[in-house]
């Protein structure tokens, strides 16, 4: 009898298996949509999605307060080490790709920039648009808050690990970058491809050989656009059974359709 009860409790527990996904704000809208449709298909599932930034998600994974960490950057060596010190092996599942678009106000005459120019703009060496072929207008660079994977990815890929200029205006979420750039003629910022809309203009960028490429799903897929990053779910091996159904759904055809609907690049 007692055994039966135990079994009953265990099964209900596994049916009610609540999963938490925590981390990157870039992946947030995607995970939210995935969770929404997944729960429609799978009525007993319960998936909680929380943002905070990639770093938040991974440290929550290390502390065991989330089942899946959603991240817009690769796990750092240090973070991996912390997990292995705790005796857990981290599993990495790339669920989609994202191109980072450099965006300006639509009225801005500048259409393209090189990596070096972007570097100089975000580290504060270039402060006026006329220095890069635009109008005589002060440049207002806008960054994400420090917790975001986007912030670090841009810092690594574009600024080559140098610091952003001190006192750069920073906003807590990508949506706000779009809002601010829309209202600010001299602003420049960076957003995931999914966030692009008519209120901002995406610049062509060149990382080498003077080849300027426009960010799009196509250029990201054929790897001509240089600023592309994977969007990743991390979980620990021991919780695989619990998180697998959801992740499988995300990687399935239905799940990948949501990926392209939300505006990211599918894994195939």
């Amino acid at each position: 009898m007692r055994k039966l009860l135990l079994v009953a409790i265990l099964t209900t527990a596994s049916i009610l298996a609540a999963q938490t996904i925590k981390g990157s704000d870039t992946v947030l809208p995607l995970s939210q949509q995935q969770a929404e449709t997944y729960m429609k298909v799978n009525k007993s599932a319960k998936v909680t999605v929380t943002g905070g930034g990639s770093g938040v998600g991974i440290s929550a994974l290390i502390e065991g307060t989330t089942d899946i960490a959603q991240s817009s950057r690769k796990i750092k060596f240090d973070e991996k080490k912390k997990l292995s010190d705790k005796g857990s092996t981290v599993v990495e599942k790339i669920i989609a790709y994202d191109a980072l678009a450099v965006v300006v106000n639509p009225k801005n005459a500048v259409n393209q920039l090189t990596r070096e120019q972007l570097d100089d703009i975000f580290t504060g060496k270039i402060t006026n648009w006329k220095e890069v072929g635009g109008a005589d207008l002060k440049i207002t660079p806008i960054a994400r808050e420090t917790s975001s994977g986007t912030y670090e990815f841009f810092k690594e890929e574009v600024l080559q690990k140098k610091d952003y200029l001190a006192g750069i205006m920073s906003v807590p979420a990508t949506g706000t970058i779009i809002e601010t750039i829309k209202k600010t003629p001299g602003a420049i910022g960076y957003v995931g491809l999914a966030y692009l809309n008519k209120n901002v203009k995406a610049l062509k960028v060149s990382f080498k050989d003077g080849q300027f490429v426009e960010p799009s799903v196509k250029t990201a897929k054929d790897e001509t656009y240089p600023i592309v990053r994977p969007l990743i779910y991390y979980y620990v091996q021991s919780s695989e059974a619990a998180v697998k159904p959801f992740i499988d759904y995300v990687l399935s055809k239905d799940g990948q359709k949501i990926v392209s609907d939300v505006g990211f690049i599918t894994i195939h």
Partner: protein, 284 residues
Amino acid sequence: MLDKNLSQKIAFWTFRFLGLFVIGILLWILGFVVYNGIGVISFEFLFEAPRNGMVEGGIFPAIIGTFCLIVGSMVVAFPLGVMSAIYTNEYVREGKISKAIRTMTNNLGSIPSIIFGLFGMALFVNTMSWGDSIIAGSFTLGLLTLPLVIRTTEESLKMVPDSLRNGSYALGATKLQTIRRVVLPMAFPNIVTGLILSIGRVSGETAPILFTVAAYFLPKLPTSIFDQVMALPYHLYVISTSGTNLEAARPMAYGTALVLITLVLIINFSASLLRKHFGKKIGV
């Protein structure tokens, strides 16, 4: 030298203008939220989960979440606050100790809510390992509102005339009996008023729940006190600053703001009605 009647006229018109100006600003904010939000309110908005990247559907989970936090924080703050007030008002003679306690209560009341968030994260989420959960959020919010509960309870206890206490003692009742049978029943309505005021405070706080309980998206309702929940103020914050399409989410933000304001105003309004009602009764 300006004629004194003229200067009075100028001054008074300035004040009238200022008065109207400030009231205008406050009405503007209210009007802004009501005007933009009223069209969004519907049965679906109030009783369904957010859909389609949170630009459609409703805010039901956030309403329930806020409700959970209200109940949870009151379970923490109400007994503790009332007992604390009884102690300072009934047991300690007016003097250094009661003064010290009151100073501490005032000081706690002046600590910014973000500090409570830090503290709640360090103590409840990490040290106690409750994780982000209703219970961690409730304790954080409960402690935040404790000074308010204590202050309002003390005021209500003070309104009970000493003659009643003395009468009770004269009949041979003990201190505890007096408190239970005489003081508390008399003060009860006002204590409830204080409770309602604290609910108003708790339901609007964002900073303390950022790191202790709030979830961005959780369409199902919580099943245990160790679950995370969505909450109205946090929901308003996230949908007005993040998401792929802020413009599409604006109506949801206005609607959430309206629901939040209405909730808080109704709570505070009923508290002030109650206070007026019972205040008169006791005052006699």
